[in-house]
C-alpha cells in the first residue's frame, strides 16, 4: 500500500509524568498517512493522554511529537491554535454545544474559520449532515432533543466541517447500545472511505476488540505507557504477545 508509506504522526521517546508517575514511558511509534489506526489498551493505559499529546493539548515531559511535519512540542499560541485546525475530533458523548441547534453546531467551525457567505455555509452544512445520514428534520433541533446516535452523527459532521487531515475518535462506541455501536463503526469506515482521495488519517481509541479488528488497517496495543505491539490488523489477530492474546481472546 503505497499511499500509506508516509508517516503523518511520529512520536519519539515520549515520556509524560503526572505527579511522579510516568503515564507515557519512552513511547515511540508512527501512524501512517491515510490509514485507520486504532490504539487499544486497558482503561488507564494512557490512550487519551497520548491523543492529547498529538493535539498539543498536553506537552511531553521529554521526547518529540511530530505531526504533519511540525514539531508539536515547539508550537505555542496562535501557531498551536492554527495547527489544531488540521484535526477533527469525535468525543465520547459528542460534546455538542448544548445551546446551539444541529445546524448551528455544524456551522460553528465554518463560520469561525472561513469567510463563507451564509448561503455557502448552508450548503456546506447540509452536505455534511447528508454525509452522516441525517435529514433536514433534525436541523433545528437542540442536542437535548436528539438520540445518542444522532448526536454522534452531528458531532462527526461538525468534526469533518473543515476537511481535517486527521480525524480522532476517543472511544466512539463506549457506552452505546449494540445497534448504535454498529452504526457508529460503519460511519467511521464510510467517513474514511469518503475522504480516502485526500488521504485523511483516522485515529481511534477503543477497547472494543471485535470492531477494531474489523475496521482498522493498523492496531497498536498500549500498555503501561508503551506501545507493546503494533501490527496490521490481520497480523495483530495472530500476535503471540500474552497481553494482546488476553485482549483478543476475550
Amino acid at each position: 500500500m503505497d499511499t500509506m508509506s508516509e508517516n503523518v504522526i511520529s512520536l519519539r521517546n515520549v515520556t509524560k509524568i503526572f505527579s511522579d508517575f510516568p503515564v507515557l514511558h519512552e513511547l515511540t511509534f508512527d501512524i501512517k498517512r491515510g490509514s485507520i489506526t486504532t490504539l487499544l489498551g486497558f482503561s488507564g493505559a494512557g490512550k487519551s493522554t497520548l491523543l492529547k499529546h498529538i493535539l498539543g493539548l498536553l506537552k511531553p515531559t521529554s521526547g518529540d511529537v511530530i505531526v504533519l511535519g511540525q514539531n508539536v512540542v515547539a508550537l505555542e499560541g496562535t501557531a498551536l491554535k492554527e495547527f489544531r485546525q488540521n484535526f477533527g475530533m469525535l468525543f465520547q458523548y459528542a460534546a455538542l454545544f448544548d445551546s446551539l441547534t444541529t445546524f448551528e453546531n455544524v456551522a460553528f467551525p465554518i463560520r469561525e474559520f472561513t469567510d463563507f457567505t451564509e448561503e455557502q455555509v448552508e450548503q456546506k452544512v447540509s452536505e455534511l449532515l447528508t454525509s452522516v445520514n441525517l435529514s433536514d428534520k433534525t436541523y433545528y433541533k437542540l442536542p437535548s432533543e436528539l438520540s445518542g446516535g444522532m448526536r454522534k452523527r452531528v458531532g462527526l459532521a461538525r468534526a469533518l466541517a473543515l476537511q481535517p487531515a486527521i480525524m480522532l475518535y476517543d472511544e466512539p462506541t463506549t457506552g452505546l447500545d449494540p445497534i448504535t455501536t454498529k452504526m457508529v463503526n460503519e460511519l467511521i469506515v464510510q467517513t474514511a472511505k469518503n475522504n480516502r482521495a485526500r488521504k485523511m488519517t483516522s485515529v481511534i481509541i477503543s477497547h472494543d476488540i471485535k470492531a477494531t479488528l474489523q475496521i482498522s488497517d493498523y492496531i497498536a496495543f498500549l500498555h503501561r505507557g508503551r506501545v507493546v505491539e503494533y501490527l496490521p490488523s490481520a497480523e495483530f489477530k495472530k500476535s503471540s504477545n500474552p497481553l494482546v492474546r488476553e485482549f483478543v481472546d476475550l
Binding site: L55, L57, L80, K81, E82, F83, R84, Q85, F87, M89, F91, Q92, Y93, A95, L96, F97, D98, F108, P109, E112, F113
Partner: protein, 265 residues
C-alpha cells in the same frame, strides 16, 4: 508520642486549610491575569457579549425590581418612625435615597445577581467542562477562556451598575409612595428635601461599587465554572461555591471600598 499526635492533628488540619486556600488564591490570581491578557486580544466577540448582557438582565431584572420596590417601601417606614420622634420626618426622602445610592442598591443587587447570574455562569461553564464542550472548543483552536469567560465578565461588570440604578429608581419610587400616601408626608416637602440633600455626586460611590461587584461576581462565576472537573456533582459544587464566594466577597469588599471611596470622593 500519642499525645503529641493528638495535638498535631488539628494543627495539621489548619495548615492544610491555609495551604489549600493560598493555592486557590494563586489560581484565582492567574485567572484574573488571563482576563486582562485575553480582553485585549482579537477576535472581539461582541455578539457573545450582547448575548450575555441580555442573559444577565433577563435573569435578574424582575427580582431587582421587586426587591428594590419593597426595600424602598420598608425603608420609608423604618426611617419615618425614627425621624418622627425628633420631628424630622420630612427627611425620609433623602435618607432613603442616600442609603439606596451608596449601599443598598449596589450591595443588594450584587447579592441578587450573584445568586442568579453568577450561579448560572458557573453552572453553564461547569456543564460545558464535564461534557467536553470546552475540550471541543480547544480542539477547534478556540481559546475557551476567551470564548466563555471574557464576554461574561465584561457583561457582568457593565450590567450590575445598570441593574443597581434600576434598583434605586424603583426603590425611591416605593419610598415616595409609602412616604406620601401612607405616612402622609407632604408631597412638595418630600421633593424639596430630596433636592436639598441629594446631589448627583452621591451616586458616584454606588456606581463605582457596582462596577466592582459586577466584575467580582462574574469573575468568581466563571472561575468556579472552569474549576469543575467531574460529573453533575462537580457542577453543583462549583455553582454553590460561586454564589457563596460571590456574596461573601461583596460584603467584605464593600467595607473596604466604602472606607476608601469616602476619602477620595
Amino acid at each position: 508520642m500519642k499525645r503529641l499526635k493528638k495535638v498535631a492533628k488539628p494543627i495539621e488540619h489548619i495548615g492544610d486549610v491555609v495551604l489549600s486556600t493560598l493555592k486557590e488564591m494563586g489560581k484565582m490570581t492567574k485567572f484574573l491575569y488571563l482576563f486582562f491578557y485575553w480582553v485585549t486580544k482579537p477576535p472581539y466577540r461582541t455578539a457573545l457579549f450582547f448575548e450575555q448582557l441580555y442573559f444577565i438582565g433577563n435573569k435578574s431584572l424582575f427580582i431587582i425590581i421587586l426587591s428594590g420596590l419593597f426595600t424602598g417601601m420598608v425603608m420609608a417606614y423604618q426611617t419615618y418612625f425614627g425621624f418622627k420622634m425628633i420631628s424630622v420626618d420630612s427627611l425620609v426622602g433623602p435618607v432613603v435615597a442616600l442609603t439606596m445610592a451608596k449601599e443598598l442598591a449596589p450591595v443588594l443587587s450584587g447579592l441578587i445577581v450573584s445568586g442568579r447570574a453568577g450561579a448560572a455562569m458557573a453552572a453553564q461553564i461547569g456543564t460545558m467542562k464535564v461534557t467536553e464542550q470546552v475540550d471541543a472548543l480547544e480542539v477547534m483552536g478556540i481559546d475557551s477562556f476567551q470564548y466563555l469567560a471574557v464576554p461574561r465578565i465584561i457583561a457582568g461588570t457593565i450590567s450590575l451598575p445598570m441593574l443597581s440604578i434600576i434598583f434605586q429608581l424603583v426603590g425611591n419610587t416605593g419610598s415616595w409612595f409609602v412616604g406620601t400616601k401612607a405616612l402622609m408626608i407632604d408631597d412638595a416637602m418630600y421633593y424639596s428635601k430630596l433636592s436639598d440633600f441629594m446631589f448627583i455626586e452621591d451616586l458616584y460611590q454606588g456606581i463605582i461599587k457596582s462596577f466592582f461587584f459586577g466584575f467580582l461576581i462574574s469573575l468568581l462565576g466563571t472561575y468556579f465554572g472552569f474549576s469543575v472537573t467531574k460529573g453533575a456533582e462537580g457542577v453543583g459544587k462549583g455553582t454553590n461555591l460561586a454564589v457563596v464566594w460571590g456574596m461573601i466577597t461583596i460584603l467584605i469588599s464593600d467595607y473596604f471600598l466604602t472606607s476608601i471611596l469616602i476619602r477620595i470622593l
